[in-house]
Amino acid sequence: MMGNLLKWLDHRTGYQAVLSDALYENIPGGSRWRYITGSMLVFAFVTQAITGLILWAAYSASAQTAWESVFYIQHEMAFGWLLRGVHHYMAQSMIILLALHMLQIVVDGAYKPPREFNFWVGLVLMLLILGLALTGYLLPWDQKGFWATNVATNLASLTPVVGDQIQQVIVGGTQYGNHTLTRFFAVHAGLLPALVVGFLALHMAFFRRHGITAEPSPDRSDQYFWPQQVLKDAVGCFVLMIAVVGVVVYTHGAELTAPADASEPYAAARPEWYFLFLFQMLKKFDSEFIGAIVVPGVVMGFLFLMPLTGRVKIGHIVNVVVLLVLLGGAGYLTVEAWNADHFAERNVAPGEKDFAGNADAKSAYTDKYEASEGFLKAQKQAHADYERLVELIERKGIPKEGAVALQRNDPKTQGPKLFTRHCRSCHSHDDGSGEGIVAESNTAPNLHGMGSRAWLAGLLDPQKIKTDHYFGGTALMETDAGMMEFVTGDLANLDADGKDLLDKIIVAVSAEAKLPAQAKQDATAAADGALAAGRAAFEESFDSYACADCHKLGDIGELGDAPDLTGWGSHEWLRGMIANPNHERFYPDNNDRMPAFANNADPERNQLNDHELDMLVRWLRGED
């Protein structure tokens, strides 16, 4: 019955001939492990096609949605991280397999006549796969992919004569944006896969036409493809599958960095590791034309000519040697690029190294060290930014303007940048951990923790007020009257009562700031009467002065010689101070150099706009 059915099926379809053709291909010298790379590549490609299609069903190619949809796949969708991870790491395994496959073909002489065409088709396939890798890197629209791909498309403009036009057609305009994504996506998910399928069909057809290249050896008998070679191929694919899944689980999927932002530098921009050697080559030449066009062009030209030069024995030997050298060279450049970026991790700082007076060596070492330091710092920052963004998204969700908007409106992300741009020339914001922002010239107080009890206690410490941390660099230092005189006079050598008085005042004044980090302590102080006691102490004299003699605090004292401490360090106070320190509430007479950042009637002309001021103040106060 079954036999009849199959016979009928064969008559109508001819499947048996096809099947036996496929399975009973003779392999001279029998099956071998070294032949498995081709099948593994097919397996990897099919995996990419299918996982890619499924990713496509969850991906949205636009500047406001690409990153967001990938983020959603990665963090929200069931096993999305697995799917994306497999697609990501399988792509990388394809690059390794390509190299192995090519190596095997060339070493075994399988590129020699009559198989020239198949070798050429193989090279085309290699370029297509590299193209897929390149275009895929941009699609998540994160900082990493954005900046690395930006370098790659800028290389397109090096093409003679029509370079600029080519670049515009690729990018979909002169600047990266929606059309860059739609174009890259069409190429990545449509054009290139279709071409791969076509060329792969050709590759296999040519392969069937000329058969496997193998030297039949007397001690090994021929075998059919089925079952021994099929088993080996299957094992190879299985191992690959396990390896990829293992890496995905270990890394918890592919990395995603913060969303692309053309105005936000990303000093850790590097291509994926398999393009690092090309990247490294760009650093080697004064002209990128050589590194990006000439050298790769010559190499590709050489590869294309190999089947012709391989006809003679010496040519074949040269081919094998050159290929090994090229792969070795690429490997070397990859390691070199990696080492350059991680130099600072594995070497001591230039200050701690002895150069035996060799200034050149020192400056070269310093350059290297600092470049690497910058890279590592940027990488760390990128991770921190991403973590922060995840937190924000959890709390607020992604707005329709995209996740970049969350970042641009986040005090914690923008605060340090605004501080660096506007305040760092005089102020530090440094907790002493080495991570903080250090002033160019310390001429104003360190604002880290400003408003807190600890900060205020430091200011009122006769030893500390004169340091750079507080008033050391300011005009207030030079006045021998006023605050400086009070702290270094009245507050020096306090007895127990005096100390108690001071502590009370610190609690009360610091509570004015309403710092989120101090909310609990402030509440306790309010409840147990410490605040009231502090306010009372504000009016009590030390040796010569009471605080209230110069400062106003709520309804105590009068506006006069010194800044109003009502709401000192609070959001409103800081805003006012930054907007205009010369206001009578602050330092109408003795502000030596702080500019008014937002005191213009025309808000356009302010150095800080409302929104920036708000973010800066919130960051300074540790508000979220």
Partner: protein, 202 residues
Amino acid sequence: MTTTNSESTTPDQPPPRERRNFLAEGAAIVIGGIVGLFPVAVGLGVIFDPLLRPKKKGPGGKVIGGGFVRIASLDSLPENGQPQQFPVIADRLDAWNYFPDERIGSVFLRRVGENEVQAFNSVCPHLGCLVSYARGKNYFHCPCHNSAFQVDGEKIEIPGKINPSPRGLDSLEVDEKKLTQTGEIWVKFENFYTGKKEKVVK
């Protein structure tokens, strides 16, 4: 339709070739070629749209890009000539989206005289990463392939050291009249093609 029931296993012998008919062959090639190219041909406009419609207009026919943009006031620049980086806020058009007042790039500004300001685009002329200013060492450095520029934007050339940038940082035009009259720094913000000796506006 008698063949459907036939159990014969091979197709019929092909009929003998006709005598050559150049007209039919030519017509087949031409017409086949046209319909073959048709699907791509109708898409050429969209593919080359960036070249065919290079200047895109914003709402109300507003020209986007290329004009002077207010960056900062002169007060915000230190007097010692140290460069400061500022974002450039202007209208941006991204295909179907229009963004009024968006960050479209960044510039370095530095004071070089009483009423004189130098402005550079932060984009590295090598291959388009963003350069940063190394304060302690007073030069611009690009984190991508180590291009380096003096504080005045000139490319640093030290024998034996590779500096892959083909030119110095791209300086931008500053509106001098506005600067002297209002103390505001307005800069003509443009991007340039990278990797070339000359500055070519994008």
